[in-house]
């Protein structure tokens, strides 16, 4: 028989410490839906998505009941639509987004990701038209998520795309101004985008993936926070060991759900993403873990070191618990989705500059940060360029999801609701980077990308 203490520990994690599976995401390839007739393309996409994911929600619900663990989101990622709809006009892309929205509603899934393009070296026609359509597509749908990869370590940074994304983010904020510019919460700009990420808004189904696949994202900041607190004032070796042990347990649940979901859906199992994903709920915060390590507030001196330790230990514990690890895999620091981060930002301890430093040692980037609505497009592009450079030079994934909240400024806050949470509006620098951003062209790939 199992050990009583172990059983009660699991029950406590689920009941009191918010242990859950953040998402079961089904990746679906849409390459076989390509057609030169836009109507036919839309029909084929709708039919394929609704057929492949027909049982996704019911199987997840079945797993929740059998194993007693909540699965918070059920999601779908598709092949980047810039490839699938390469011949579509911007309005054709908006129509395709609405078709996917209809599929998401029919299936009962929370989000569909893949309104995406890879433009690290330049834009194909499909990417150009898709990017142009983003503001309208995101303002007329609620479940569609968009991601644009503007750089890789191999290719360097497409600064034309970085400049354009500043403008696209502004326009998206304007078109969704009645809801605190929520459209921008579904739009993320990447460097080194992974092809198997189950988390939104950046989930896409990559080119080298099977026809369909199941990827799972775990959660559990609350569980880690309690373990760190209980470890007391131990030294760093023991602290890292504590996180590793608990990360192992959390990830094993993800591995179990991933393999069971794949089996029941008759779909290959892809990866488990070892991310610590917070929610705005009390006791489900990455900031709280860092504070339990001994910081009086997240964002103060020592935060980057604490986060580096956490991120590394989560991976070391998780990697042994799962037979395939992928996606983003690291601690997330989305400001609006983490109660501790929100409080630290409100107090002024957690600033944009500190967050940027933190992203150098964790997953993923400047995430869910509300900034003043009158921030210029060039400044947003500057924020993107800085963050993307960290990813390109350090050979890692970084991303930017900032929300210039239309009509609001520092001192006010934005309310996005649900898992997206709420955020105080954080100040950006007043000085301009407009001339720098206006140069255009590409920043060359760093020397260490030449590995062959």
């Amino acid at each position: 028989m199992l050990n009583t203490t172990d059983i009660l520990e699991t029950i406590r994690m689920i009941r009191d410490e918010n242990l859950d599976i953040r998402t079961v995401t089904m990746g679906i390839s849409l390459f076989d839906c390509i057609s030169d007739d836009p109507e036919r393309l839309c029909t084929k996409v709708y039919n394929k998505v609704t057929k492949c994911a027909e049982r996704l929600v019911s199987v997840c619900e079945e797993l929740e009941r059998t194993y007693g663990i909540p699965i918070v989101n059920k999601r779908i990622s598709v092949t980047p639509l810039s490839y699938i709809g390469a011949g579509l006009s911007p309005s054709g892309f908006v129509k395709l987004a609405k078709v996917l929205e209809r599929a998401a509603c029919e299936l009962g899934v929370n989000f569909i990701g893949g309104y995406s393009a890879h433009v690290q070296k330049g834009e194909i026609l499909g990417a150009k038209n898709l990017i142009e359509s983003i503001p309208e597509a995101l303002s007329e749908t609620t479940k569609i998520c968009s991601s644009i990869n503007v750089a890789t370590t191999k290719a360097g940074i497409n600064m034309d795309a970085v400049r354009q994304m500043g403008e696209i983010i502004k326009e998206t904020a304007y078109l969704t101004r009645d809801k605190d510019s929520i459209g921008c919460a579904k739009l993320v700009v990447f460097s080194n985008i992974p092809e198997d990420n189950p988390f939104m808004a950046g989930a896409v189904h990559g080119m080298g993936e099977p026809d369909t696949v199941i990827n799972v994202g775990v959660s559990g900041p609350g569980v880690v926070a309690v373990a760190v607190k209980e470890a007391g004032d131990c030294d760093f070796s023991l602290l890292a060991e504590t996180v590793k042990r608990i990360a192992f347990k959390i990830t094993r649940v993800g591995q179990l759900i991933a393999s069971e979901a794949a089996k029941r859906l008759g779909t290959p199992y892809g990866i488990v993403d070892l991310s610590l994903a917070p929610t705005p709920a009390a006791g489900d915060s990455v900031a709280e873990i860092l504070e339990n390590m001994g910081l009086s507030r997240c964002g103060t001196h020592g935060t980057t070191a604490a986060l580096a330790l956490l991120n590394d230990a989560v991976k070391k514990g998780g990697v042994m618990a799962s037979n395939h690890v992928g996606g983003l895999s690291g601690a997330f620091i989305p400001v609006s989705e983490d109660r501790g981060m929100i409080d630290a930002a409100k107090a002024g301890t957690l600033t944009l500059d500190k967050l940027e430093a933190m992203t150098a040692v964790c997953s993923v980037g400047l995430d869910m940060i509300a900034i003043p609505g009158d921030t210029s497009a060039a400044t947003i592009s500057g924020i993107i360029a800085d963050e993307i450079s960290i990813g390109v030079v350090n050979n890692k994934t970084t991303a930017v999801r900032v929300i210039p909240v239309y009509g609001k400024g520092v001192g006010e806050s934005a309310e996005f609701g649900g898992l997206l949470g709420y955020a105080p509006i954080m100040p950006v620098k007043e000085d301009s980077c407009e001339r720098f951003i206006a140069r255009g062209g590409r920043i060359p790939a760093p020397i260490h990308s030449l590995k062959n």
């Binding site: 028989m1 199992l2 050990n3 009583t4 172990d6 059983i7 009660l8 520990e9 699991t10 029950i11 009941r15 079945e62 009941r65 059998t66 194993y67 007693g68 663990i69 347990k249 094993r252 649940v253 591995q255 179990l256």
Partner: protein, 89 residues
């Protein structure tokens, strides 16, 4: 298939009788049982064999949960594999 039934809450007379009667009602065979009382806090763990169960898993789990609520205790029925996964290498 085996499930772990956990009953936690404030101790009172008859909890084990109640939980095992509910299991018997649905043809669920209890193959191992352990319980502890810490101060007034009661924790019982039963390993149950579900092969002869007369209803589906969800109906059994829901019924146990509701019965537990009426008694003021938390009853959870979970597939044993979640515990095996987390606590065994």
């Amino acid at each position: 298939m085996k499930a772990v039934v956990t009953v936690t809450g404030k101790d009172r007379v008859g909890i084990i009788a109640m939980a095992s009667a509910e299991c018997a009602k649905y043809g669920v065979n209890i193959i191992d049982i352990s319980q502890t009382v810490m101060k007034e806090y009661f924790a019982m763990i039963m390993l149950a064999e579900l092969d002869g169960m007369t209803v589906d898993f969800a109906a059994f789990a829901d019924s146990m949960k509701l019965t537990g609520e009426a008694w003021g205790v938390d009853i959870r029925v979970m597939h044993e594999d979640i515990f095996n996964s987390m606590h065994k290498i």
